[in-house]
């Protein structure tokens, strides 16, 4: 029996919109003020000098804005035009490799060691566009908050595909870990707690993927293989 697609109250989208606009303004504000700061410097013959850290930050903030916009659009379509996941066969190894490739600039600039652990023949079935929206965003954040390493891995456990993104940073704050308990309800509390748009989007996308009675979910934890944060996406 499918649950009704309208699993959250209609008042939620305006709250999501307001909150993410706030978020995006912050990110763009950072970009703008960084650039203003750079302009204050003495230009060399080749232009302004930027540190690796500065480039990575600019890239990160801009990517956040892009991710926010994409997630908003997807949530809007899911809500209003009843967009549902288009299940396709996905080559998981290549899929995760692309998430790393898309974040190349940050990886280079921060000097992160990014690794992928996945069997070549692993195929699974999900909406690649929606899920890449989730994964890319999580990877971007991992790269930002890790110390030096990020690991992506995928295995099949209990007939679920488990995609894990782990880092060796200082882990998730308690407010974010609270997500784990909230997934049954997608209420305003869940959203407007400091979980942020990214996690909300991830939870929705996971839940929309169903196979029979089972549906997907996300799990946050600290520790993992690298001792920092561990984000897990489970897809049936």
């Amino acid at each position: 029996m499918n649950t009704p697609h309208n699993s959250h109250p209609p008042a939620l989208f305006p709250a999501i919109l307001a909150s993410s606009i706030h978020d995006m303004k912050n990110s763009l504000g950072m970009v703008l003020s960084s650039i203003d700061g750079i302009v204050e410097r003495k230009p060399t013959d080749h232009g302004y000098l930027l540190t690796l850290e500065e480039v990575a930050r600019l890239r990160y903030e801009a990517a956040r804005v892009n991710d926010n916009l994409m997630q908003l659009l997807s949530l809007y379509r899911i809500e209003n035009s009843h967009y549902r996941p288009m299940i396709n066969e996905v080559f998981v190894c290549e899929f995760l490799d692309e998430a790393i490739a898309s974040n190349h600039a940050i990886i280079q600039s921060y000097g992160i060691e990014a690794q992928l652990h996945c069997q070549e023949e692993l195929n699974w079935y999900f909406d690649p566009m929606l899920v890449s929206g989730v994964i890319n965003n999580v990877v971007t954040n991992s790269l930002r908050y890790t110390s030096s390493r990020v690991e992506l891995s995928a295995t099949v456990e209990d007939e679920y595909l488990s995609i894990r993104i782990e880092d060796n940073g200082s882990g998730f704050p308690p407010a974010m870990l609270a997500v784990n308990g909230y997934q049954e309800q997608t209420s305003i509390d869940f959203y407007s707690g400091q979980t942020g748009l990214g996690l909300y989007f991830s939870a929705i996308v996971a839940k929309l993927h169903r196979n029979g009675e089972r549906c997907g979910s996300i799990r946050l934890s600290n520790g993992g293989r690298l001792g920092g944060g561990c984000f897990e996406l489970l897809l049936p």
Binding site: N66, S74, Y83, I87, N88, A101, M129, L130
Partner: protein, 542 residues
């Protein structure tokens, strides 16, 4: 790793289609940095088609959005595939700002090879391109067979390739399923789709199963699956189209219209869908809906292969029906200017309708006499026009002319269920349901016997006799697809000296032209084309 080197990339011809100049430059730069040397650019749909007509490209990056005055990427892809400006070996990548699959993956028939969501970086671009090129390499023998229209062999190759490349097993099953459908091998297609659905509710397998059941005539089961598809995935537009067809077949016109309306709300740009909505709305006497759909047809058909004077005629007819004579005249004037066709039969038919509405029966009859004569002498008039003509003949009570015309249409399209349904509809509308069914049955029988007779002669080796027989048949029913196809097939099996007789070459060319004009290209068309080319260039093997 892979053996797709920069040198391999340098050998490929690239085409970038995007209306945003900065992006075109950016993508060109990226492609150069990964090894590409042959890169051309188009800034909108029109330019793209011009380039595609005169050049061959291996890889095409096309933005879904090409600006307000142009067709979009999906429409461009459909046109390019339908007109065979690109083939199975071309890699077509849809570039999009959308993050939703349905917008870019389109109808099953016209999917791009891959999509690329903006923004993307060089690393992602390279990985995707390499992946597509590797995929192509592995599938090349299959793609070549498909390009040459040799579907039966292509189907067998699928199984072999799947064994050698288990990674691609499912996508090869997809290809196989689609080809089985094209060849009307429904039983096998159904087994294939069912075996996939046993493990996973994969979208294309559900659609394939439902389409097969529909094609077999099992409307109830097909309806069940299509309904489930749209419940799980309200943006699967093609499912709505089929549901509308099923309701149409079941003579439930209001429900058919409702499904089409839903479909059009999800995806308004497909011209044929709007056309159909206009026609059904008209039949349901929903004149306002019919008019807005008719207008949508014209607006979306502009700048595309669907542009046609019939669309204006349809709108004018609806306006006349609404009593808006001024509007109807304006539409016709616009059509004449647009198409520069003074004596267009379609517009003349609208005139006849208008005259009849005004009470000028004599004037209407005069035009109808003229059009009736045309329908016997010209073979290039579309079935849709002829059906409208028959409708008008019956409306003004010229029963014998109307019925005779419907019989001629049935002869030319005895195996086209859509058209036969329309014929049934007209007989029903004018209270001659049984008579209509009898006539269609008789015609079908007659044509089947005619075909069998010719085929039997060919089987016995009497190719010249068979050709003569089919030539005669074609004089009576020049547009009958089956007869045209059989004529060509007989010719291909004949001895060389028979093939090379000038009247037979002429006949073959004519048959081919007729087949090429069909709205829904015959699955055997590419194969027939390549066989005919071999004869014409003298490279045929007996």
């Amino acid at each position: 790793m892979s053996d797709i080197t920069p040198e391999a990339i340098a050998e490929k011809r690239f085409l970038i289609i995007d209306d945003f100049d900065q992006f075109r430059q950016y993508l060109r730069q990226l492609l150069r940095s990964i090894g590409a040397t042959q890169i051309e650019i188009a800034q909108d749909g029109k330019q793209a088609i011009e380039l595609l007509q005169s050049h061959h490209y291996d890889v095409i990056y096309c933005d879904y959005n090409l600006g307000p005055g142009s067709k979009d990427g999906q429409q461009l892809l459909e046109e390019a595939r339908q007109r065979r400006l690109i083939n199975e070996l071309t890699i077509f990548i849809m570039v999009t700002v959308e993050n939703a699959m349905d917008m870019v993956m389109g109808a099953m028939e016209f999917r791009p090879n891959d999509y690329l969501a903006k923004p993307f970086n060089k690393q992602l671009l390279r990985k995707r391109l390499v992946r597509q090129m590797e995929h192509q390499q592995v599938l090349q023998p299959l793609l070549l067979l498909q390009r040459d229209g040799n579907l039966p062999q292509a189907i067998e190759l699928c199984d072999l390739l799947a064994e050698e490349n288990p990674h691609y097993a499912l996508s090869l099953q997809h290809q196989k399923g689609m080809m089985l459908l094209k060849l009307d091998r429904y039983g096998e297609a159904i087994s294939l789709f069912q075996s996939i659905l046993y493990s996973r509710p994969i979208g294309w397998a559900q659609m394939g199963l439902a389409e097969s059941l529909y094609a077999q005539g099992d409307l109830e089961r097909a309806e069940g699956i299509f309904t489930k598809i749209i419940r799980d995935n309200p943006s699967m537009v093609t499912a709505y189209d089929y549901l509308a067809q099923i309701k149409w077949r079941q003579e439930k016109l209001a429900e058919a219209e409702a499904y089409l309306l839903k479909a059009v709300n999800v995806s308004p740009k497909k011209v044929q869908r709007q056309e159909w909505l206009a026609r059904i709305a008209l039949q349901n006497e929903h004149i306002e809906l019919a008019e807005s759909a008719a207008r949508a047809v014209i607006s979306y058909a502009t700048n595309s292969i669907h542009e046609n004077i019939n669309h204006y005629a349809r709108l004018a007819t609806i306006q006349a029906r609404r009593g808006d004579e001024l509007g109807a005249s304006e539409t016709m004037a616009l059509a004449r200017r647009q198409f520069r066709e003074e004596g267009s039969p379609t517009l003349k038919l609208v005139q006849a309708n208008l005259k009849y509405k005004r009470g000028d029966l004599a004037g209407a009859s005069a035009i109808l006499d003229e059009l009736d004569l045309l329908s016997r002498s010209r073979e290039d008039l579309l079935a849709e026009f002829l059906l409208s003509l028959a409708d008008t003949e019956l409306m003004v009570d010229r029963r014998s002319e109307g019925k005779a015309l419907l019989e001629r249409i049935a002869e030319n399209h005895h195996d086209d269920d859509r058209i036969l349904e329309e014929i049934h509809y007209l007989f029903r509308k004018y209270g001659m349901d049984d008579e209509g069914r009898d006539m269609v049955e008789r015609v079908k029988q007659r044509i089947i016997e005619l075909n069998n007779h010719g085929v039997a002669m060919a089987r016995k080796g009497n190719m010249s006799g068979a050709l003569q027989h089919f030539r005669g048949a074609l004089e009576k029913m020049p547009n009958n697809v089956t007869i045209n196809v059989n004529t060509l097939q007989v010719l291909f099996r004949a001895e060389e000296r028979v093939q090379l007789l000038s009247e037979n070459i002429e006949l073959a060319r004519t048959c081919m032209q007729r087949l090429q004009k069909q709205t829904y290209p015959h699955p055997k068309l590419p194969l027939l084309q390549s066989q005919l080319n071999k004869i014409l260039t003298g490279t045929a093997t007996p």
